[in-house]
Symmetry: C2
Subunit: 433 residues, 2 copies
């Protein structure tokens, strides 16, 4: 059974605190193993990657077969049904259109002193995307990572996707092709992250690595951070639905279950201002759990981490939502726009009863890689920004240096950084000659 | 002596590779100590912070004196000279004006299906800034961290600045006041980071921690990452100057030394298309090193990590610059704007001979917290963005759901996520009734 909380109860605050601080994930400590694998790939390159792939994925590769050939991709992609292809194309187009609007602008101006100031955005030259193999090999994740990279202008985009026992998901290859991915390597685990970060004879190094992965991949990303940029290390998925009584309990139940079915550690929370509606949703969840394909996973998640919170009013719901800072927030209320202005800390907000979260996973347009574990308090979902960096620009004229140089000299002196000051003094001396 | 490289030499590539991969920093491994300190602060709160401050800073505090009082700040700030105050105010004003222009805009639109999409930026609620004590206690760093946070709209901004043996830098307190900092704690080290991240009875927790610090602070920031957001972990400072022969060698020498004087691990590199000019700068550096206050530090940095590279032409200089991806890049050439369009990977670019890098450290306006150790390939300097996060928004109408819902159902099916698909199916069934 999920937990039932009620803000009018005297025990509410301590129960809510317990819900907030509950640890849902026990990551195995694989750091020592991962460190060894990275060292091995750094020192032996292709040979190490090939050996580790034989060992973990039961797949014999050579330097020439590390990457899929264009022909191999053609053959795989040809297996995709027309309906799947059309759906994936619609998703890619919508994700591309949304992310194109995110592109930030360069800006430059001249201020009153005559100084020209500004900044310029530029793309990371090369990026690598990790795509898990097996069950969690999601074509939608390929689109969500690769499309923003290409929109940002990344020149060289490489994917690493393990193919254990030669299992390949043709939709993953099609998603890569639709996104404009340049290279696809059939390698995985920490060895793939090491190869992307440090390079081998056959795999050129990249500057940034994004994408989800298991504990080995996450540990490897942490270790190569600094050498390359990485995206967030995502935790288990979460949804918070705020719903009033004017909703179909079954719709809300399915929205809660569509997080729960991801992972036994996923979390689905309903906040409602109507206790009876909360009960109705709970019953609808139980009914759906009788037949759902992934009922074992979804049932465990709902039982262990699910919660139904009854509040006095929607303002209270918004306040609790801000403390939870959910990854996904669904607002199924009469005026979702007004409520959304009060729910400040959330990765993505889905407004109104016709916007199930699953739309955002696939075809809405916004990214589905979002901050988990309350990190929406301080971070954002994946966007073109992860594949861009900003260079600041400044150019002084002699007049500008005369105007602001003396303050720099003064501050350099107060910080005892003499050369800093002298670099200004020497120039001003000439200008004042 | 610095290294001298020449791109026409057959050994150039291997020597340049060695320069790129040289490790300039040996961070002591303090992780175990830091883990203990964090655990101690998490379990004992104020008491642990007070004990550790007594031990490391020889300063006896109580819960009531952990923070500076307004009166204490008044007294300290009154000691600042008018010239220092005026310089600091000019710096704060210019940094504020620059960072105000960085504020990103919210955006929302309705697409052809009737779906409303967009995003909204919001500030991190509470941020903590670490300010080193002692020698490296720089008021300019307070401005560079605190002003962007306040421009972004951070409501509660706390500073931790250790005051070993009661030493306080009044300029640091003035910089905090000019930036609108709300709380100033006289604590430092890993215990300060732990207190900011997890909170104590007297110090409320924050959501984001930025600012430089020693190995203990850096290790603590890494450890609390996830619980709170952190900024980059900065390495030793670097400058690359690209200069043609039409420069005063002494100006360029001072620019190189203004990085070298920061730290024995700092790195200053000159690239020039005129070997004789390179020699002249080297001589000017040696001459300045005879009298410079921080000649021991600057001399060690220049001797151990300095480099002078002679190139055939400025295109070659730009290509090398992109491989170095310098934190600071000075372009002292006839047409710095044209050259700057070719130097893509750099934290900050200073254009022309009247823009010494020191201007950017204090009063230019752009931030002086910049990516080091070649990370300008994939990351940017500090900005208002570090204190903002983006929430994506989507709202489907019935028509929009009819238009794109089936593609979501299809993709959910292909990923074997049944509840995802059903959450759309159930709604479409009603709509199609």
């Amino acid at each position: 059974m999920p937990v039932f909380l009620d803000t009018t109860s005297p025990e509410f605050e301590s129960a809510f605190q317990a819900l907030l601080s509950a640890k849902r994930e026990d990551s195995p400590d694989v750091d020592a193993t991962v460190a060894q694998i990275i060292d091995d790939v750094r020192s032996r390159g292709d040979a190490a990657v090939i050996e580790l792939t034989a060992k973990f994925d039961r797949l014999e590769l050579t330097p020439d077969t590390l990457a899929f050939s264009a022909e191999e991709i053609d053959v795989a992609v040809a297996q995709v049904s027309d309906t799947d292809r059309t759906a994936l194309e619609l998703a890619a187009d919508r994700i591309r259109a949304y992310h194109e609007k995110q592109m930030p602008e360069d800006h430059q101006w001249t201020d009153a002193t005559g100084a020209t100031l500004g900044w310029r955005w530029s793309a990371v030259s090369a990026a690598g995307l990790y795509v898990p193999g097996g069950l969690a090999s999601y074509p939608s994740s390929v689109l969500m990572n690769a499309v923003p990279a290409k929109v940002a202008g990344v020149e060289r985009l490489a994917i690493a996707v393990p193919t254990p026992d030669r299992q390949v998901n043709p939709l993953v290859l099609l998603a890569a092709r639709l996104s404009g991915v340049d290279e696809i390597y059939r390698i995985g685990g920490a060895q793939a992250i090491a190869a992307l970060a440090y390079g081998t004879a056959s795999i050129a190094p990249v500057d940034k690595i994004t994408g989800p992965g298991n504990a080995f991949v996450a540990a490897a990303k942490r270790r190569v951070f600094g050498k390359v940029g990485i995206d967030m290390i995502a935790g288990p998925s979460e949804i918070l639905v705020i719903a009033d009584k004017d909703n179909d309990p079954d719709w809300i139940a399915l929205d809660l279950l569509s997080q729960a079915e991801h992972d036994e550690s996923a979390q689905s929370i309903l906040i409602t201002d109507d206790a009876a509606f909360g009960q109705a949703v709970t019953q609808a969840v139980e009914k759906r759990l009788e037949t759902l394909q992934r009922r074992v996973i979804a049932g465990a998640s709902w039982r262990d981490y699910g919660a139904v919170i009854t509040v006095r009013d929607l303002d209270e719901a918004a306040a609790l939502s801000n403390r939870i800072a959910p990854e996904h927030l669904e607002l199924c209320v009469a005026d979702p726009v007004v409520l959304s202005e009060k729910t400040i800390h959330a990765g993505a907000i889905f407004l109104g009863q016709y916007t199930p979260e699953a739309i955002g996973d696939y075809v809405g347009g916004p990214n589905h890689v979002l901050p988990t574990a309350r990190s929406a308090r301080f971070s954002s979902g994946l966007s073109v920004m992860e594949f861009l960096k900003r260079t600041t620009l400044s150019q002084m004229t002699p007049e500008a240096l005369r105007a602001i140089g003396p303050a720099a000299e003064q501050l350099a002196q107060s910080e005892s950084l003499e050369a800093h000051g002298l670099s200004v003094t020497a120039r001003l001396a000439r200008l004042n000659d």
